[in-house]
Structure formats: structure tokens, C-alpha cells
């Protein structure tokens, strides 16, 4: 589970800059999740944006019983459901089975193939770079990124100091970023 409690506490105190940190952190994941059932680029962005605004306004209701992402994901899904209910246009595009199956693969049948291609290219490059990482670093980063373990839990699993976990994860990210720089992919979001 992501530990955003310190950032959320700042947001609860009215720090919008801290909320911006959360937006950057979860926007891609949230838009991706919404896109999986609405199949509309613009709409998935709008719904995610509205979910973030609602989350900010209701941040005091967040009690930390689930992760921030789980909480905002529910907000986004309810926002999407309301949208389709209000517009009465959900019959063809809205599919709860697809919605609930959040891990299903994204369809590439999109009206924006260039964007999707760039995204796919990026994902492939990152995953290729990930596969090329030294074993120790890759396994540590994998426990973090795919299994969601905390540094302390990884340290226990790998039987190593927490400092080693910290440096391995950082090193892994640095190496992936180098691959990005070599491929010039980082320009995609820098421009």
C-alpha cells in the first residue's frame, strides 16, 4: 500500500502544493483505469480531473483505511457512473464487468493511435530497461513496483538492511532513466 499519509496530512491542512504531488503521482494510473471502461481519451481525463477535484474537496473524509489511490479510484468510478447515468449514453460504452476487471489489458482500438503508440513505445522501453537491470536491483524494484511492499518489508524478504533496499531501488530507477535518455523518450513529456 502506498504511504501518502504525510502528503495527505499537508493537504488536509490546506496545502494545495502537496495535493499537486498526489495528482502527478496518480494521474496516469487513474486515467488509465477510467479509460479501460469508457474507451474515450478526453472523457477519461475529464473524469479523472473531476475525481481529483472531488478528492481535494473531501480530503477530510479520507481516513487512511485504504490507500489514497483506492479511495480516489472509487471516486472516479462513481463519477463515471454518474456521468453515464445522467447522459443515458452508457448502454454501449459502459460495461461494469470491464470496469471491475481493472487488470484487464487495454484495448488499442483507439481514435488516438499516435498517443497510444508513444505510450506503448514507452512502456516497452521501460520494461526492456527493467529486464536489463542487474538481478538484485531488478528483484528489489519488482517487490516495490509490482508487489507494493514497503522498504522495511523488502528488507525482511531479502534479508538485507533497509539502506540497501533504498539504494537498490534508487539505482534501478536511475538506470531505467538512462535508457530513457538514450532513447530520447523523456522528451515526450518534457516538451
Amino acid at each position: 500500500m502506498e504511504n501518502d499519509i504525510n502528503i495527505i496530512n499537508l493537504v488536509k491542512k490546506g496545502d494545495e502544493r502537496a495535493f499537486d504531488i498526489l495528482v502527478v503521482k496518480y494521474q496516469d494510473r487513474l486515467v488509465y483505469s477510467v479509460y479501460k471502461f469508457c474507451k474515450d481519451f478526453e472523457l477519461s481525463q475529464d473524469i479523472a480531473q473531476e475525481a481529483f477535484v472531488k478528492a481535494f474537496r473531501n480530503i477530510d473524509k479520507f481516513r487512511g483505511e485504504s490507500s489514497f489511490y483506492t479511495w480516489i479510484y472509487r471516486i472516479a468510478i462513481n463519477t463515471a457512473k454518474n456521468y453515464f447515468s445522467n447522459k443515458s449514453r452508457g448502454a454501449e460504452t459502459y460495461n461494469e464487468d470491464v470496469l471491475d476487471n481493472a487488470l484487464s489489458d487495454m484495448s488499442l482500438n483507439s481514435d488516438n493511435p499516435e498517443t497510444l503508440l508513444a505510450a506503448e513505445e514507452m512502456k516497452d522501453a521501460v520494461n526492456q530497461a527493467f529486464q536489463n537491470l542487474p538481478d538484485e536491483i531488478r528483484s528489489t524494484l519488482s517487490l516495490r513496483e509490482y508487489d507494493g511492499l514497503s522498504y522495511e518489508e523488502i528488507a525482511k524478504v531479502q534479508n538485507c538492511p533497509i539502506g540497501t533496499v533504498r539504494s537498490r531501488i534508487f539505482k534501478g530507477r536511475e538506470l531505467i532513466n538512462e535508457t530513457f535518455s538514450k532513447l530520447g523518450l523523456s522528451k515526450s513529456w518534457s516538451n
Binding site: Y32, A48, V53, Y151, R173, S186
Partner: protein
Amino acid sequence: MESSVDQRLSLLLDGEVTEFETRRIVEDISKNPHIKKRWLEMNKQKAALRRELLMPHLDLSSKIQNELQKSKKINKYKHHEYHYSWGKIPYLRTCSYLFGLCFTLTVLFFEFSSQPNQSLLQASAPKTLVSTINPVILDDFGRNFNGNLRSYRYISNNQVEANYGIQGSNANLKLKFFLKDDSSKLKLSSVSNGVTVNMNKGDSSMIVNISSDKLSNQRLITISNSFLE
């Protein structure tokens, strides 16, 4: 330096920073565009690694910030509007009530003070026949000439007419009472027959005209004299 920043961002990405450090990084990201860019890149990279990257150029943060600022302004406006518009209504209502109450009390006060006191009116003689001549008095008048009061009517506040039947005969007698005031001449001009006398009844000076279709003038004079006695 850059490595140190990246390291801190990496820790923030994993939620492995203290509250104090979180505050520092939030401050740094908001102030330094380079650090902000690195933060965005690291998150894109993470999303790509998890295969959750849909749009490489996506950045909702500025839109969301704008939206939050906009709603803040609206809230501020609503707050302002409440205080200076809606908030005025209870105030204006209270003022209206107070004004209305004052106005009503003032009107009531003046109305009360200008209303005549009935007992005072009678004691100080409002000089109207209506208040002086009543059926009992009219009946008393009839006893002077063995007359039974048959009917009476108030022609005006200052003029009363009474009809009597004389006992033991079929003659009728009419008495007209006028309050003596500035219009007496006009009233007397309306009397064409019978006997007219001036008399006092209590504080009121009045004129009485006595007329009958069958009684002689002499008889009428005798009756009028009985009034004067």
C-alpha cells in the same frame, strides 16, 4: 546534487519519507521547475513500468489547480454574496419589522389620543340631539299632552322627529326637535306649520316645533307651555 534530489524524489515516490522531509520536498517541487519536471518524469516512468501509461503528455495538475482556484473564487464570491447580499436580508427584515412596529405604535398612539372619550363627551355636552333625546325623554314629553309615543326618527345628529297619538282621540301630534346652533334659521325655515318654542334640555338649547293635523293652535300653544314649565 541532482542525484540527491532524485534520491529524495524516489523516496517520496515510495512514501518512505518523514513528515518533515515531505514538507521540504513539497516546498522544493513547488518552487523549482526542474525538480517538478523530474518528479513528473519519475512518475511517468513508474506508470510505464506498471504498464499504466496511457498518454505520455498527460499532466492534469495545472488544470486541477485552475479548477480548485476557480471553485475557491466561487466559494469566496458566495461567501461575499452571503455577507453582503443574502446576509443583508435578515438585517433588512429586522429593520423593516422595527420600522413597522414603530409606525403602528405611533398610529395607534395618535388614534387613541385623538379618539373622543364617550363619557367625557356626554358630560361636556357634545350638543347633539342624538345624545340628548332618547325614547325615555320623548315618552316624558308625551305625558304633557296625554300622548303615546308611536314612532321617532333621527333625521340628523341635530334633528329628531317624534309622532304621538293623543289618548281619547284620534288626533296625532308631531314634535320636531332641533339643536340650537348656527343653522337654526335654516332649520326653522323648514317648519311651515304648528308652534315653535325655544327651550333648554339639560345643557342643550333646542327648538321644538309642535304640529298636529287635528289639534288647534291654541291646544298646541297650551302643550308647548307645558314644556316650558
